[in-house]
């Protein structure tokens, strides 16, 4: 069972308290964008076997959204951080690099 520390309220929440929200840091494409961009935004998701960034919601807790850096191959959690950002903070990237040197995810590394 996953245990994630909610960066909003500080609670170590177990999985039954949380709701998964899919891929993090999506760039929204709406009216006026190209068909390809809109298609990718709606349907294409990163599906890595390894380092992944996700949105989670502390649903049965403080109710706030936050971000998680996690490994889909081992279920290891590298860290959680605020949802008020468009890219992972440096300390999260460093924590991943310490355990998975050379990792990449979309444009981040």
């Amino acid at each position: 069972m996953l245990i994630l520390r909610c960066p909003c309220c500080g609670v170590d929440a177990e999985e039954t308290e949380l709701a998964a929200g899919g891929e993090a840091h999506l760039k929204r494409f709406g009216p006026g964008s190209s068909d390809d961009d809109f298609h990718d935004y709606l349907f294409m998701r990163e599906n890595p076997k390894g380092v992944h960034f996700e949105r989670w919601r502390h649903a049965n807790g403080c109710g706030k959204w936050f971000h998680v850096a996690r490994c889909t191959r081992t279920l290891e959690v590298f860290g959680t951080y605020s949802a008020q950002t468009t890219e992972p903070p440096q300390e999260i990237k460093d924590a991943i690099t310490a355990k998975r040197p050379g990792w990449t995810w979309r444009e981040f590394s």
């Binding site: 999985e15 998964a20 068909d35 294409m44 998701r45 599906n47 076997k49 889909t72 279920l75």
Partner: protein
């Protein structure tokens, strides 16, 4: 290949069973094949089999990273049905179901197909309307299903509790010719038939790269060396994204864990398959007597082949309400498989942006029942470039808005 028969059993009994040969060969890869299938699960082996049987393409290799049938083919709950809402799905799954009917005879391998009947329980007013609609759609599609009331459900499943306080049984969608089969035997039977046609099944061989020239596939790199091919079929379920990345395109898929469990064996008590979609649980009794139970998926990406324990708890809690007699059963084993989910919960059987490279993936939580039909359509697509069975399941349907929206039809794992 020696023919399996009652006579063969008697003959071998007289000589202490020393004459049985291996069901399939394990050769080293050749330099070149007409077609390579990546993934020796049910779908991959069925694709290879129908390439040989229907189109005479027998210079084929099936490449497998682990062992044959060791992925989701050996991890599912073995349910076979074709009561789908949308026309393209009903056509594909009904083809599969009808091929299962005489697959044992065709392959000369007992896959233990048991058309014992499948009930999908309606436990809310919404489900009653949904399943009545599906029954009407199935009548138009030529798939034999019927809507039955709660008393008929009770006659078919005496151990069911119709009057559960939270989820009463209000009726069900009944497919009499649905049922189960021995999942491993499906893979083994196809593998034996492929090997008999001279195809090479190469296990413990991981694909590390896809080689292309001028936008067409020319071969693959593997841990047993480079192999050339004219056509490539990628049939690897949960790891489709990794193979697609090697081939240079992306897929609208996410991999999640789906769980199942079995109880200790008990005497026969339920001779149909029961699915309860509102509560995310389904159950059948295996020939050994174990109650085989399937649950729901986790909501997050996962490649670990183990799921979250609380999903098991939710499934079992709901099933205990519906089948009170299972409350004292001990559960023997619990496992997970990695399923590849698309946005509309329907599979992808398609050409790809890479020429002569084809993909069969996205079966999500319901691939086992489709194995023969999937192989039939995929083989036609690879051999001729077009298949009426697969034409709706293309990779570009998401861009064009042609969804085959089965998440609405089933509302749950299917």
């Amino acid at each position: 290949m020696k023919h399996y028969s009652a006579f063969a059993v008697a003959r071998e009994a007289l000589r202490y069973h020393t004459g049985w040969e291996r069901a399939w060969r394990s050769p080293q890869p050749k330099k070149r094949y007409d077609a390579i299938i990546v993934g020796a699960g049910g779908h991959g082996l069925a694709t290879a089999y129908y390439l040989g049987r229907n189109y005479g393409i027998q210079n084929v290799a099936v490449i497998e990273k682990g062992w044959l049938g060791g992925g989701n083919t050996g991890r599912n709950t073995t349910i076979i049905r074709s009561n789908y809402l949308q026309d393209p799905s009903a056509a594909l799954y009904e083809r599969a179901r009808s091929l299962y009917e005489d697959l044992s005879q065709e392959l000369n391998y007992n896959i233990m197909f048991s058309p014992r009947g499948v009930i999908m329980l309606a436990q809310t007013q919404h489900e009653i309307r949904g399943y009545q609609r599906t029954a009407h759609a199935n009548a138009l599609q030529g798939v034999k299903t019927e809507w039955i009331g709660p008393q008929r459900v009770k006659e078919l499943v005496p151990i069911i509790n119709l009057d559960g306080p939270r989820y009463p049984v209000l009726g069900g969608l009944w497919q009499e010719r649905g049922g189960t089969a021995r999942h491993d035997a499906v893979a083994w039977g196809y593998a034996r038939a492929c090997s008999a046609m001279g195809m090479d099944i190469i296990q413990q061989c991981e694909v590390t790269g896809v080689r292309s020239d001028n936008g067409r596939v020319v071969g693959i790199d593997t841990t047993k060396g480079a192999i050339d091919c004219d056509k490539l079929g990628i049939v690897v379920a949960g790891h489709s994204g990794q193979l697609a990345e090697m081939a240079g395109f992306r897929l609208p898929l996410e991999a999640v864990a789906l769980q199942a469990l079995v109880s200790e064996p008990i005497k026969p008590c339920m001779d149909v398959v029961v699915m309860a979609n509102t509560v995310h649980g389904y159950m059948s009794q295996s020939d050994k007597g174990e109650m085989v139970i399937g649950g729901g998926t986790d909501g997050f990406n996962n490649y670990t082949q183990r799921g979250s324990f609380h999903h098991i708890e939710e499934t079992v809690r709901a099933l205990v309400e519906t089948f009170p007699m299972i409350s004292r059963l001990k559960m023997l084993r619990q496992w997970g498989g990695i399923v590849d989910m698309t946005g509309d919960r329907s599979p992808i059987l398609s050409k790809t942006p890479l020429g002569n490279c084809f993909i069969n993936c996205g079966w999500g939580t319901g691939g086992f029942k489709a194995i023969p039909g999937s192989g039939w359509g995929m083989a036609q697509l690879m051999a001729t470039g077009h298949s009426p069975l697969t034409e709706a399941f293309t990779l570009d349907r998401f861009k064009e808005g042609r969804f085959i929206d089965e998440s609405v039809a089933a509302g749950v794992a299917h």
